[in-house]
Symmetry: C2
Subunit: 127 residues, 2 copies
């Protein structure tokens, strides 16, 4: 079972928080390809949010190719496919994030150190 929480006081939209936590569970290896997510109404009950909000998170993940609808109308984790578009998206975001870090005085060493640490912490293989 997946443990997900949301912060109603955060400035980050609820559906985004849900989406990002699911992504976190995938990279942590707690959600593996083929496993299914809880029904939106059930997930909504646990998180104490409206089921439309959970649905929106699921729709995002589906549009991003991270989950897909399968038999029984359940969303299941997709097998990851490294696509050129995903590479471009990552590069675009990374460009902005690194620009901000550099502007704030971090140097290449600081940045490399943090990136390596995150890769070490998060790296998991998907079948």
């Amino acid at each position: 079972m997946v443990l997900i929480t949301v912060d109603h006081n955060s400035k980050i939209p609820l559906y985004r928080q849900i989406r990002e936590q699911i992504i976190r569970e995938i990279t942590a290896g707690n959600l593996k390809p083929g496993e299914s997510l809880p029904p939106s109404r059930l997930m909504a009950g646990m998180l104490e949010v409206n089921f439309h909000t959970v649905n929106r998170a699921y729709e995002c993940l589906r549009d991003e190719g991270l989950i897909k609808l399968s038999r029984g109308k359940k969303y299941t984790i997709s097998s990851a496919v490294r696509s050129p578009k995903d590479m471009e998206d990552f590069e675009t975001i990374e460009r902005a994030v690194i620009a901000e870090a550099l502007a704030k005085g971090l140097d290449a060493t600081d940045i490399m150190q943090i990136v390596k640490k995150q890769l070490r912490t998060q790296k998991h293989v998907r079948s």
Copy 2:
């Protein structure tokens, strides 16, 4: 002189676009510490946006410590100070960005390659 453009059709708020372009100019070395930004009313005229919108971007950058008000009521580029909080902020963002990349199937090699490329492209020293 700094060349900045905004896209009125983008989903990214205008004041964010302005803020990010200024950050880009700083890391590109086109804006150096001590140099001043155009008055908000002038910048607004060039960008064809309201001057309150430019003001909001300037306020963001001021709150982030990237610019400061100096004599003549002009905003000037600050000298970068690498603070622990900035390191933490970067790590928080990087954690989420890398999680998404990994979830989409990119591997550590892909990520390192793109990060290194961005550092190579953007790295500039600030006095």
